[in-house]
């Protein structure tokens, strides 16, 4: 089997397993997995910026929330349908990332991290300030009538799971195609040696802006889908916590690997789910897991596996 065929086979196998899981898992875990798949799409977007292009952003909650609110507000105020609302969310995530990138990409490294964090905080406060329009702190429930896609009711378990899986599969295929494309190589080149890349004829600003917009589209799609599938839109999704979560998923699963974000989201979700079941100090376990990760596998799980032999892993 050629390298390309092996890679696509591996990723298709994961999608097939996730499909089969719907028929095997109890409802509680299937719903969890649907959440994890949507969050993994968010993390995949984060990974394209951070893992592949080297852009350490602390502002991705803003792109996630932009997608969620661009989906939810037209539904709430004007009764827009689910499908167009989802598309709006995706566009909003990309547009917001482009606008932030135009300004924030004048900085790099730690400054970029702080500027993106600042923008995201401003975004969160804006949502609170215009509480009468956005629902503010309390948020709002997405009208059941809008939670339909191609005739399926997204508030019931099976269609919801399948919609999450479809989004996840499309996002993963897009990510895999992108990172194996010539542009994906240029993204990695920016991460590895920006000055060399410039002297090979690549404009660092344009490459990084394009990567950030793609990343924002992923985050926006995930935010919109999350609101649509689970029926709630709220300002809490714009807090710093939602900028840090995708980073944790990516670091745990392996930055710069296609499957890392999913693996990281899966493990982190269940780590929190299980530990919070018996202690209120579940953040302690998250912290301990991260310390162990930094000590023994600083490149994340799949990053370490790739280093130790599976060099072909994208």
């Amino acid at each position: 089997m050629s390298g390309g065929a092996r890679i696509w086979a591996l990723h298709l196998a994961l999608v097939a397993m996730l499909f089969a899981a719907l028929f095997v898992l109890p409802t509680y875990h299937a719903t969890n997995l649907a959440r994890i798949m949507v969050l993994a799409v968010f993390a995949m977007g984060y990974n394209l910026a951070f893992g592949y292009t080297g852009l350490l952003s602390l502002g991705h909650a803003m792109f996630f929330a932009a997608g969620m609110f661009a989906m939810g507000l037209p539904v709430w105020h004007w009764g827009l349908g689910g499908g167009p609302a989802l598309l709006l969310g995706l566009v909003a995530g990309g547009a917001m990332a482009g606008a932030v990138g135009l300004l924030a990409l004048r900085t790099a490294g730690v400054s970029f991290m702080i500027v993106t964090l600042m923008f995201a905080q401003a975004g969160y406060l804006t949502i609170l300030y215009f509480g009468q329009v956005t629902g503010g702190d309390e948020g709002f429930v997405v009208d059941a009538a809008a939670r339909r896609l191609f005739g399926f009711d997204l508030s019931s378990d099976v269609p919801r799971y399948l919609a999450a899986l479809a989004l996840f599969a499309a996002a993963m295929a897009g990510c895999l195609w992108l990172v194996r494309s010539p542009f994906g190589r240029v993204m990695v080149a920016m991460r590895e040696n920006e000055e060399r890349s410039r002297m090979l004829g690549y404009d660092p600003f344009r490459v990084k802006l394009a990567a950030l917009v793609i990343s924002g589209v992923y985050a926006g799609a995930a935010g919109a889908a999350y609101g649509l599938l689970f029926g709630y839109v709220g300002g809490s999704f714009a807090t710093i916590q939602y900028s840090i979560l995708p980073m944790l998923y990516v670091l745990l699963g392996g930055a710069g690997t296609v499957l890392g974000p999913f693996l990281g989201a899966l493990l982190m979700f269940y780590l929190i789910d299980i530990t919070s079941g018996f202690t209120s100090a579940w953040l302690f376990f998250v912290g301990a897991a991260l310390v162990l990760l930094i000590l023994f596998a600083p490149k994340g799980i799949l990053g370490t596996i790739r280093e130790r032999g599976a060099r072909w892993l994208p």
Partner: protein
Amino acid sequence: MAALMETEGLVRHFGGLKAVDGVNFRLEPGEIHALIGPNGAGKTTFVSLLSGRLPVQAGRITLSGRDITRLPAHARVRAGIAYTFQITSIYPRLSVFDNVALAVQSRGAADIAAGVAEALARVNLTGFDAQEAGTLSYGHQRLLEVAMGLALNPRVLILDEPTQGLAAGEIEGFKALIRSLVPDTTILLIEHNMDVVMDLADRITVLNFGRVLAVGTPDAVRADPGVQDAYLGGHHAAG
């Protein structure tokens, strides 16, 4: 004949240090032109101005008559000016193939694999494709960087001290490689190794304190009394 690249009154000062101070310079198409001068003469600053890595403070740069003084560095690369760094600059964690592929796809080549194979063959690195670039020997890393420059198919290739750190045998191979590039590619070479300079260069420009001290054939430059005082003579006397 029209110059391929030309500068008029090029200036770059760093505070009080006049690194490049009014340099007029002509690069003829198809020549191997060496840039020499004592340490701190402004050679690297000068080629950084040519490649766009540093902004020009005064003066003008043209490429085939087109004013490129304000063109950003990446656009100059696309216009045909390739630059290899004095301190080897590759992507150490990427494969040799990916290193060269980045240069090949930058010039818009349709068949990336063929372009990579061709560039690697020219520097005798065929078969190293899959190796991680950072694990190559120092000499091979220098050659890889030259391959990346070649893969851009540049009109002008600027080499900043390419033989630094190479073994004697590698230098012979390097000279043959450079000779094989002209006249399709024009070479501008900063070099400390006088044997390489005298052997390769069609013309030499001598910089001293940011100004042009002399321009001419290797024989003419060697015979120039000003150059002997400032550089060669002093160097030889000391050596």
